[in-house]
């Protein structure tokens, strides 16, 4: 287990300079999307540009989405780079675009989603996966854009199993107290041959609902897109909205958000630990971890008035200020519970043996699939949205909350469940340290009322926001129309990325009974994927 010091946060100019170095790509920051470098790329050079960007050192395809302001949908690729985010915009006139997932495999999930929502598909005969639209979704089923020319079923590959294997149907109604989710688990009787995922049971159309709402109305739903990372998703969304409006929260409010974010990380890692114990059948360990979890949740409730920190994030500031005394008093004890449980677990061979060499993901896989969060960090990739301290529109008044206390990014090698577990433990310790630093720096609830139409310069705009949820980088992209209402909002929780790694992890040399362990170590939500 190692810790990575954050790189010197590069400036937007340095990114532009590096981009200019790339061939076949004329770079001009149109500034369309605030909070990131934006360059427009014509459809014909999209493929070459994607090649160039995917090949560029330190870049990672973080997200890809479409919206149709006007008639022709615009394809937007979000690239993460150590010195900021880069958004490329491309108008797609016809209903096809170059198969980007062949260049950057990470784009595949989004290709499927864009096809379902906007009816444009990569120019390749290969089938797409079913992602959000239920099988019975008819032509009148609400979509963000135009519906596909052909019904999705034609584009979706059939899950046929041949030879000496069979499909073990698992879900959607699974164990007690877990989300609805369907695994098609193809097995030869012992080992896992293949695994595919259905999450359309939970598609609630959050992005569709956000349209026409003001950011403050919308945050209510944004938090509930993935409740277990409400703060991260809320922050990313709020930051995007703020960027779109060209405002920034006060540093105290930003620190308040950061405190909430780290508390969220803490309780999620505790919950993941409990889930790991449950999956390995170590009930005593589960109880110990759950004691820690419950105490952390009570700390949340005492400090912020909500066990899951709903309502803390508020566009323009922070909805609630933490009770610093409570945190200082209660947090060490609650974290101590987790620490002690973890130490006992690490001393329990029957537990550790089940974790080691289970659900291995290689660094190459993680990079290829654009995985984020502890899953990626457990393979040695230092991917962490907190490192990206260039705040919205020139940053926070005195820098991002994470710029001050240098955040250590915890990574591990091996990429197996044990590595993930270690990363989580390391991050929990780091979170406690950060919270104390933030509290010392001072936190406050600050509710700058968002400027809306009528009071001055603010018209519409688009902005990009991000935050590091316990599951990894959350991205939000918000476009506001003239009277400050959302015309298109894109939410991309970390789960969307990491579920792609999940089936690969299950496929690698695992037997049936490893799958619950792997799922616990990923600690993702179907709600975040299906939205």
């Amino acid at each position: 287990m190692t810790a990575v010091e954050p790189r010197a946060a590069g400036t937007r100019e340095s990114l532009v300079r590096q981009l200019a170095g790339l061939g076949g790509l004329e770079v001009r920051d149109s500034g369309a999307t605030r909070g990131a470098v934006t360059i427009r790329i014509p459809a014909e050079t999209l493929e070459a540009a994607t090649h160039a960007l995917a090949g560029m050192a330190g870049t990672r395809l973080a997200d890809m989405f479409a919206d149709n302001d006007g008639d022709a949908p615009t394809l937007r690729l979000v690239w993460a780079h150590e010195s900021g985010y880069l958004v490329t915009e491309t108008e797609i006139e016809c209903d096809q675009y170059p198969p980007l997932s062949d260049i950057a495999p990470a784009a595949f999930v989004e290709e499927c989603e864009i096809y379902e929502q906007f009816g444009i598909r990569p120019a390749t005969g290969k089938p797409l996966n079913r992602l959000m639209l239920p099988p019975h979704a008819g032509p009148d089923f609400p979509r963000l854009g135009h519906r596909p020319a052909r019904p999705p079923d034609e584009a979706h590959a059939p899950h046929t199993v041949e030879g000496q294997a069979f499909e073990f149907p698992f879900g959607p109604v699974r164990q007690v107290g877990v989300e609805s989710l369907y695994y098609g688990l193809v097995t030869s009787g012992e080992e896992v041959v293949d695994l595919y995922l259905f999450t359309w049971h939970k598609h609630r159309g959050v992005e569709w609902r956000l349209r026409g709402k003001t950011p403050r109305e919308a945050i209510f739903l944004a938090e509930r897109a993935e409740g277990l990372s409400a703060v991260a998703v809320g922050w990313a969304f709020a930051a995007a909205a703020e960027a779109a409006l060209g405002i920034a929260p006060s540093s105290a409010a930003a620190r308040t958000r950061a405190v909430a974010l780290e508390l969220e990380r803490l309780y999620n890692h505790a919950a993941a630990t409990a889930a790991l114990c449950q999956a390995t059948g170590l009930t005593v360990g589960q109880s110990a971890a759950e004691i820690a979890l419950e105490r952390l949740l009570r700390v949340n409730a005492a400090a912020f008035g909500h066990r899951y920190l709903f309502g803390v994030i508020d566009p323009g500031g922070a909805g609630r200020a933490p009770d610093a005394d409570v945190l200082r008093r209660e947090l060490p004890g609650a974290y101590g519970e987790l620490r002690r449980a973890a130490d006992a677990l690490l001393a329990t061979n029957s537990f550790v043996d089940r974790l080691e060499a289970t659900g291995i993901l290689t660094t190459e896989q993680a990079r290829r699939l654009g995985l984020v969060g502890p899953v990626a960090r457990a393979t040695g990739l230092a991917v962490d949205a907190r490192l990206n301290t260039s705040g919205p529109r020139g940053g926070y008044p005195d820098g991002s909350p994470y710029a001050g206390p240098s955040v250590k990014v915890v990574t591990a090698d091996g990429g197996d469940v044990f590595a993930r577990f270690q990363v989580m433990l390391g991050e929990a310790a780091e979170s406690v340290r950060l919270i104390v630093e933030f509290l010392d720096a001072g936190t406050a609830a600050d509710r700058t009322m968002l400027p809306v139409k009528g009071d001055g310069e603010v018209g519409g705009g688009t902005g990009l926001g991000w935050a590091e949820s316990p599951r990894g980088e959350v991205l939000a992209w918000v476009a506001l129309d003239e009277d400050g209402r959302i015309s298109r909002a894109r939410l991309r929780p970390g789960s969307v990325r990491n579920w792609r790694g999940f089936d690969d992890a299950c496929r690698s040399q695992n037997v049936f009974t490893d799958i619950p362990i792997i799922e616990a170590s990923f600690w993702l939500t179907a709600a975040g994927l299906a939205r």
Partner: protein
């Protein structure tokens, strides 16, 4: 198919509530008390929640709340379940699974709608969701909260089996006036 009680309430769904419902639910609870003694087996059903209600439900078995001391148990198979704990706004794509789960339960059975989503607070009915559980399953007990804390869930389960008195009808949500509070 199911217990006579639920058959009776089938049609009504969870829409505008008939007054006899409380009565029916009471009969149901008596039946449960009679048939299961004080031990009740619970199956959960997620119809599109944000995963927080699930977390709270999982915590019911944690040492702090320890559901088992009250004679409640979770069972993975609806075949053995007496009570269905439903979360989420009842996504339409989930109808089939929800019905199958309900029908797989032996009667008498109780359906508990859990959380603001399930009670119709968060998502309005539209092509994605029914908006509340009552549209698809005959709900017997409603537990508000976003999410309902484990304590609220314990109370709700107690009410569901008639072990705890129901306070809600008595509550007015009208605060006693304090002169200091604000302008007049």
């Amino acid at each position: 198919m199911s217990s006579g009680v639920n058959d009776a309430r089938r049609g009504t769904g969870g829409g505008p509530v008939a007054q006899d419902e409380a009565e029916v639910a009471r009969q149901l609870r008596d039946k449960i008390a009679a048939q299961f003694g004080r031990s009740l087996h619970i199956r959960t059903l997620d119809t599109g929640s944000c995963a927080v209600c699930e977390q709270e439900i999982r915590l019911l078995t944690a040492p702090h709340y320890d559901l088992h001391r009250l004679g409640f148990f979770f069972t993975p198979a609806p075949r053995h379940a007496d009570l269905l704990l439903v979360t989420g706004p009842m996504v339409r794509a989930f109808d089939l699974a929800a019905r199958k789960t309900y029908e797989a339960m032996p009667g008498p059975k109780v359906v508990v709608a859990t959380g603001a989503c399930a009670l119709g607070g968060v998502y309005p009915p539209d092509p994605f969701v029914h908006g509340q559980v009552g549209e698809v399953l005959p709900v017997d007990v409603w537990i508000p909260g976003c999410p309902p804390s484990p304590l609220a869930l314990l109370y709700g389960l107690g009410v569901a089996v008639g072990r705890l008195a129901e306070k809600t009808p008595g509550l007015t949500f009208i605060a006693d006036e304090d002169p200091s509070g604000g302008e007049t």
